[in-house]
């Protein structure tokens, strides 16, 4: 129950983040607001430190939080080939 709620909250936060990041004026405003509170600023920075979405497809691939829907057709094909070998040992 708690875990489900946590996931829901995480998902909502993620959506909020992508919504804000997609709007430069709002993004700048939020960043400025957060920067005024150093403790919050540090926590937010720590939370997004490993975030790779911004660099998705754009720089070396690292830990990715997306689903297969976010892969290119070729990457999906490679992914399926890898999974096939992983599951069936072929």
């Amino acid at each position: 129950m708690f875990k489900g709620f946590l996931n829901l909250a995480r998902r909502a936060m993620f959506r909020a983040r992508t919504y804000i990041a997609g709007r430069p004026r709002l993004d700048a405003f939020v960043k400025q607001s957060i920067a005024r509170i150093p403790l919050l600023d540090r926590r937010v920075r720590a939370a997004v430190r490993d975030e790779r979405e911004d660099r998705f497809q754009a720089i070396p691939v690292r830990a990715i939080r997306f689903g297969t829907a976010d892969l290119t057709p070729r990457a999906l094909q490679v992914y399926l080939d890898l999974m096939k070998v992983l599951k069936h040992g072929q």
């Binding site: 430069p24 754009a58 070396p60 690292r62 829907a69 976010d70 892969l71 490679v78 999974m83």
Partner: protein, 860 residues
């Protein structure tokens, strides 16, 4: 022979050191001396910031297509959490190199990767003929304090031994490796090294010399030392101690200048050391990191350069100083005598007395100094990158002749999948690891397709078609591209969103645009690969800004990235645009696209303005940026939606027949000059002129007062007509019915109404601005000034000319169709037919020089 150069040595933190300089210089020389050999560069996508400078460094030496970037999941630095990922990356890299089918792979720095994302391995996945640069084996001779590094170094030595050929940078390094690692001597080749050409003798005036010394806090002639002060093998303490032993009256005439990057607290430690030896605080000056240009000047003005190292693989700083004409005294240890040459210049680094004696002599004995300089300037001629490269190529050739033809795996992809899956299995099927591995492999081994793809951005159009001027252009060009794709290309409309970087195939939009009735496939992120082209046809500022990091990635892949520029109006007329941040948005958009490969402007005027903007904005580029121009098409049939005339139009058309009529076309906004035109006509009406003014345009922004005036104008419906929603067909009729087009806009990107008027043989009275001159040439009348009186006078003058049929006729204004416009775009984008290139070749050279200067700080 196909030679693949792995340039990670110029990508990691080593790019700030001698290894980076050596890697880059040798690779450039190999490329320049390649003769009939094919040279490919392999760059790691794990160091994205280094790719553009390296591409720039090879711009005039090697085709850009020969520079290939590979990707691997990161991070892979030595860390317990990265071990499996590093294993995967090693296999991915080797598979990529194997896919290039090399006859020889040269690894410039095999020992990279302890503290960064370098991936260097030999023979863990593919057996490729491999040569490795052999710098030194210092870690074998000195204790390694870090236990993790000991293990790492041992593993790297295993890989090192698996190489087929070793290219030593000095005789000493070759002999050292043969004896310590029992390498086969025939496979160890001394190719030497060289100093960069920027280290040369420079004529400096006394004032310049004083200025340089003052800038570094030097009050007296100085002894120069360059290196990493924290490394004991560099023996900076030996120099200080020897200096302390000089006679006091001699010592007080000189200072020591320590040049080199220091870690926190190192300078304090050096000060304590100097103090222990009895030196005064101002006897030693610490300069820290200094760029190459400044370093060359310091070499030129130092009294002597001292190189007291216990161990070197080569000794580049000594060679650089010699090349600048500095008398060099140096250690007689390891490789240093090979570089310095003259035995008279050598001392025993373990003997402080020996150093002191040699130091005293070089500071005081003018004949000795002159002899050293002469001999050492002769000695430096023995070193050149071309010579090193030729030796390396000869070694490759000899190996190639002797070795069997490398075997090519027929199932490289399948083998890679199996091999990486074995490691992924150890990660317990962690989905994100599988996905990141899949993404890397997909980029390194794209689908085999015979045709390239021209990706066309329709981000705005595929969301909604507002039928604006920009969207008319997008729609018309896209239609032409889809109907007649460039030879060898498939055209793929794509779109991005402000939420996330990357572009997706606009399948649904394309089906609808082409009125196809097929099942719409999933709209996935695009698969771009080397040779493809991305064209930012549509204009959506936020999407472009969101993809600021994506475009460089496309370029890393070998995709050319271009954009269409309609105008710079929000920047030129910030007060005329709404919302107020329009200018900032446009500025940011221009900044992003200025880092692409080029732009195509809709007119020569905009191209010139864009070049001016680049100069004013101080845009810095390492590689040339193309600026082209192609006029928009003017054949309405492509994009027009025909309809019947409205009642308002009918009334206007009826009234127009009874006197001269002037037509204005365009949205009502401050820039278009409606207020000036209306005021001018009011004056003309007041003075008894029988004229009609027809304004066609929707209400825009910042013109509330004018709109209110139009709505209640006493002449409205008799001499003044305002038509807000006019179809292209109705506009056609108006062009045919009016006497003259008034183009009063203060700035335009193109000026379509002028061409539309010309097609209807409608004379034109236009504001004298560059774009209208470009479009109409001598086929229009022009007016200047912003006052109503000036325009009223121009209208009167035009009426007089017209009465005598002496007014310019517009029908000869040249114009192009959308098909011609699209063809011109294809020529520019795919054949590089640029109007201008920014910056000039000289500017690019300066920028590259500046960039590479920043890549060198500490030598050896």
């Amino acid at each position: 022979m196909r030679i693949v150069l792995d340039l990670q040595g110029a990508q990691t933190a080593s790019r700030f050191r001698g290894i980076g300089r050596y890697t880059l210089s040798l690779a450039q020389a190999i490329a320049a001396n390649r003769a009939d050999h094919e040279v490919l560069l392999a760059l790691s996508g794990l160091f994205p910031d280094t790719i553009e400078p390296i591409r720039a460094a090879f711009d005039s030496i090697l085709p850009q297509d020969n520079i290939r970037v590979w990707f691997a999941p990161g991070p892979v630095g030595v860390d317990t959490g990265n071990a499996l990922r590093r294993q995967i990356a090693e296999r991915i890299r080797e598979a990529f190199l194997a896919s290039l089918e090399p006859d020889m792979v040269h690894v410039s720095s095999l020992f990279e990767g302890f503290g960064d994302d370098a991936v260097t391995s030999i023979g863990v996945f593919a057996r490729l003929p491999t040569a490795v640069t052999l710098y030194d084996l210092i870690p074998l001779s000195a204790p390694l304090p870090h236990p993790a590094f000991r293990g790492y170094y041992a593993a790297k030595l295993d890989s090192f031994r698996r190489a087929d050929l070793w290219l030593g940078i000095s005789q000493f390094s070759c002999q050292d490796a043969i004896s310590l690692l029992q390498l086969e001597p025939a496979k160890v080749v001394d190719i030497g090294g060289a100093a960069d050409a920027r280290f040369m003798r420079i004529d400096l005036s006394d004032a310049e010399r004083r200025g340089i010394m003052q800038a570094h806090g030097l009050a007296r002639p100085f002894i120069c030392w360059v290196g990493t002060p924290g490394e004991k093998r560099k023996n900076v303490a030996g120099l200080m101690q020897a200096f302390a032993r000089l006679p006091p009256q001699l010592r007080r005439r000189f200072q020591i200048l320590i040049i080199g990057k220091t870690q926190t607290g190192e300078v304090d430690a050096l000060r304590r050391t100097a103090h222990q030896f009895g030196l005064e605080q101002d006897d030693v000056v610490y300069a820290g990191y200094i760029d190459d240009a400044e370093l060359a000047r310091l070499y030129n003005i130092c009294r002597t350069f001292v190189f007291p190292s216990f161990y070197e693989g080569f000794g580049l700083p000594a060679l650089e100083a010699m090349q600048c004409g500095a008398p060099v005294i140096a250690s007689n240890s390891t490789s240093i005598p090979e570089v310095v040459g003259s035995t008279a210049a050598l001392f025993d680094p373990n003997s402080v007395n020996d150093i002191a004696v040699k130091l005293q002599r070089v500071l005081t004995d003018e004949a000795f100094r002159a002899d050293l300089i002469t001999r050492q300037l002769q000695q430096v001629r023995r070193f050149s990158w071309d010579a090193s490269a030729r030796r390396a190529i000869k070694a490759f050739e000899d190996f190639h002749v002797a070795a069997a033809t490398p075997t090519r795996s027929a199932s490289l992809y399948a083998d890679l999948i199996t091999s990486t899956a074995q490691i992924l299995r150890k990660k317990l099927f962690k989905r994100s690891a599988v996905m990141s591995t899949a993404m890397a492999i997909a980029q390194n081994h794209p689908d085999s397709r015979s045709e390239k793809i021209l990706f066309v951005d329709v981000s705005e159009l595929c969301q909604h078609d507002a039928n604006t001027g920009v969207q008319r252009v997008t729609r018309s060009i896209l239609k032409q591209f889809l109907e007649k794709p460039p030879a060898g290309y498939i055209v793929e409309p794509v779109y991005g969103t402000p939420e996330r970087p990357g572009y997706r195939y606009a399948k649904k939009f394309t089906q609808s645009f082409l009125q196809l009735d097929q099942t719409v496939p999933e709209e996935r992120f695009i698969d771009a690969r080397r040779g493809d082209v991305f064209f930012g046809l549509d204009l959506q500022h936020h999407v472009v800004e969101r993809n600021r990091v994506y475009y460089p990635h496309l370029r890393d892949l070998g995709v050319k990235v271009y954009f269409l520029v309609h105008d710079l109006l929000p920047i030129q007329f910030p007060d005329y645009f709404w919302p107020p941040e329009s200018a900032d948005n446009h500025q940011r958009w221009l900044s992003v696209i200025s880092q692409a490969d080029g732009v195509v402007c809709v007119s020569r005027t905009v191209a010139d303005q864009y070049v001016d903007w680049l100069a004013q904005s101080g845009v810095s580029r390492l590689r040339p940026f193309g600026i082209g121009w192609s006029h928009n098409g003017a054949d309405l049939t492509v994009s027009a939606a025909h309809g019947g005339p409205s009642q308002a139009l009918q009334a206007a058309l009826t009234a127009l027949g009874s006197g001269p009529s002037f037509l204005m076309v365009g949205m009502i906004e401050p820039r278009k000059g409606h207020a000036q035109v209306l005021a001018a006509f009011e004056r003309l009406w007041d003075s008894g002129h029988d004229l009609r003014l027809v304004i066609v345009g929707r209400p825009g922004w910042l013109v509330e007062e004018l709109l209110e005036k139009l709505r209640v104008h006493p002449k409205l419906g008799s001499l003044l007509f305002w038509l807000q929603d006019v179809s292209d067909a109705d506009l056609d009729r108006l062009y045919g019915a009016c006497s003259c087009l008034v183009a009063a806009s203060e700035g335009e990107g193109f000026g379509l109404p002028l061409i539309e008027a010309a097609k209807h043989k409608l004379p034109i009275l236009a504001r004298d601005i560059p774009i209208f001159r470009e479009i109409a040439g001598d086929h229009a009348s022009f007016f200047g000034g912003r006052t109503p009186e000036a325009l009223a006078e121009a209208v009167s003058e035009w009426l007089k000319l017209r009465a005598q049929n002496r007014h310019p006729h517009s029908e000869d204004i040249p114009w192009v169709t959308w098909a011609q416009s699209a063809d011109r775009l294809k020529t520019i984008l795919l054949e590089g037919d640029w109007y201008k290139v920014w910056p000039s070749a000289r500017g690019v050279a300066q920028n590259i020089s500046h960039s590479t200067q920043n890549t060198a700080s500490v030598r050896n």
